[in-house]
Amino acid sequence: MSVEPSNPDLTDAAEPGPAGTAASSSGTGEGRGPWSLALRRLSRNWSALFALAVFLFIVIACLAAPLWANQVAETGPNETHPLEKLHVDGEVREVVEPSGAPIGPQWLEAGGKFFLGADGHLGRDEMVRLLYGGRASLFIGVTAALITTILAVVLGLLAGYFGGKTDALISRVMDVIWAFPVVLLGISLGVVLAVGGLKIGPIHISGSSLWIPTIIIGVVYTPYMARPLRGEILALREKEFVEASVAQGAGPLRIMFSELLPNLLSTIIVFFTLNIANNMLLEATLSFLGAGVQPPNSSWGTMISEGFDSLYSHPILTIIPGTMILLTVLSVNIFGDGLRDALDPKSKVRFEARSGTVEPEGTAV
């Protein structure tokens, strides 16, 4: 498994967003703001909307995990039922057979208990674990994307705005991290931190905390977002409206946050979305190898890792959490794609390129 270090999806998105183009050209949609224009484009992209719906459904289902656990399955994600028996239509079924084989999916036959069967000789409810595992996977995916975004924006702004030595220093450090294979960096950090936890000043995070993989993934992907943002800021820095703001005596913070940031917003949104997808894949890889989510927590990655041991007897234990990852990541990727097409002014050029049209009159005069 390799989580590509050179993520083209991310670098590709590094084009000035609609806010940026709004300043430079009046555009074709007169009287409409760039954002509402983007929204209109997005609303016409039914596959992106469908993907968003799928993703939201998964998120809501995972958030509702306690509801399913308490009301339907009547068990927790870590509760074991090695000796329990189910009574279905007068028939008695053992959750774990004496041979150690877990029960298969019961769907709704047992009133929702063991909907997807049990997870092994411990007899834990697979469905409940899946929902709780999804919470962990989604938490890491989204929170790590937030961390990446905050770090990347701050570093990008500092490097791009101040330039000179600040820029050189930040860029060199980014280069070094960039040269690192993402998986290896994640593994190294994951392995060392899982043992002793992380100490940042007075804060001590235990090795089994979900925050460890979250922070690692958030940090590891930072250069992939900070680099293109820096490039965009360098270009924006030269624009008249920034110079005008400087001339009016605005301070660096003011310029960074009220002039530069709004123009980066669409890039940031696209990056953030695609980041969630990549984060979830990296989390799964790290957890699969034992360098991610640590017991007693579980995520889809750790579930696959556990299920993999009984792949040939109970393939479903590997395939179900894997399919959940695939579905979630795919829906985020499709939605992110649609988002980029909607926000990226170049998508119009692409639209024309798609049909081979030459732009009506070049850039003459």
Binding site: G356, V358, P360
Partner: protein, 348 residues
């Protein structure tokens, strides 16, 4: 010079429409003209007037599922708009050559100039070998005035200066001795001194080879140097056409006055401020009713809500046609601004 009956290329009521995200755009709306052998025809207009689209449509470069092309383009009696793509490929380069505005980007950076010329030859004459092709390329580069062509033929485009690249583009266009050269803003991206050289080259080729030329430009100054006949386009239509003399000395359309007025002329005292046509060209998505130049025209009157046809309005010169409702006498009076031809600033 223009000689009556003989036609090499004949364009009749050409209409080109694009379907865009925001609606249908009629980029070219009923353009007709003829090109005689050896003639230099200039098509003049601002960006967005449809002049480049017209030129590119002639050799089918605007074809796409989103484009609607209507009307007729006849080359020696052959209808080009109905040709299949492979048949058009045979015409391109061998019958009609085209060169473009920006020589910096119009040559592929990863191949040598020589290779790109040889490629043009071999696209039409498979039998030409590499060595033969190269020799031909050297000869062509030499003929367009590239010094030391034998050596420069193996240079990459970025090693050429802008003017040399445009010469190389022209050389590439000439490889198969076409009868028509379409030059789309050939000098716009070049320095003024280089512009003159390239225009001279085009003129020389026109004279020595009898190469009929369609020159697309926004710059009437360029036109004055080389053109025999001029078409002035605005918002997808021809608003005035005539010989060079007619257009320069007796322009009938206010838009032409504006273009002429914004020229720096050496034969007249330089005005204090170079007048520009106020406002900007209309969006093709929202054309004003009637004459599309109306919103920018200081001489607009009630009749302008109707779009005038392209007609000869002067009894003594039937080839000089325009689309303006003003009486010829009124035009002659109104176009005088500060002792020269021009378009007055709007009253406001």
């Amino acid at each position: 010079m223009s000689n009556g009956g003989q036609k090499l290329l004949s364009v009749t009521d050409l209409r080109v429409g694009f379907t865009t995200e925001d609606g249908r755009v009629q980029a070219v709306d009923g353009v007709s003209f003829d090109l005689a052998p050896g003639e230099v025809l200039a098509i003049v207009g601002e960006s967005g007037s449809g002049k480049s689209v017209t030129a590119q449509t002639l050799i089918g470069l605007t074809r796409s599922p989103n484009t609607t092309i209507e009307g007729s383009v006849r080359l020696d009696g052959e209808e080009l708009t109905e040709l299949s793509e492979p048949e058009l490929q045979r015409i391109r380069g061998s019958e009609i050559a085209m060169i473009f505005q920006d020589p910096m980007t119009s040559l592929n950076p990863v191949y040598t100039v020589g290779k790109q010329i040889v490629e043009a030859i071999r696209a039409h004459e498979r039998s030409v070998g590499k060595a033969e092709g190269r020799a031909k390329a050297v000869e062509l580069l030499d003929s367009v005035g590239i010094p030391d062509a034998e050596r420069r033929v193996d240079d990459y485009p970025h090693e050429f200066s802008g003017g040399m690249r445009q010469r190389a583009m022209i050389a590439m266009g000439l490889t198969l001795e076409p009868t028509i050269l379409i030059a789309d803003e050939p000098t716009t991206a070049l320095d003024v001194t280089i512009q003159a050289q390239i225009l001279k080259l085009i003129q020389d080729l026109n004279r020595s080879r009898g190469l009929a030329t369609i020159l697309i430009t926004h710059d009437l100054g360029v036109v004055a140097e080389v053109a025999d006949r001029v078409l002035v386009m605005y918002a997808g239509r021809v608003v005035e056409e005539g010989t060079l003399e007619e257009i320069f000395y007796d322009p009938q359309h206010p838009y032409t006055w504006g273009l002429l007025g914004s020229l720096t002329r050496l034969d007249q005292p330089r005005p204090e401020r170079l007048p520009q046509i106020s406002g900007s060209p209309p969006s093709l998505l929202h054309l004003p009713k009637g004459c599309p130049f109306r919103p920018r025209c200081p001489h607009e009157f009630s009749k302008c809500s109707e779009y005038p046809g392209l007609e000869a309005r002067l009894s003594d010169s039937p080839s000089h046609r325009d689309r303006c409702w003003l009486e010829p006498e009124a035009k002659r009076a109104k176009r005088q601004v500060e002792g020269r031809i021009g378009l007055e600033a709007p009253a406001s």
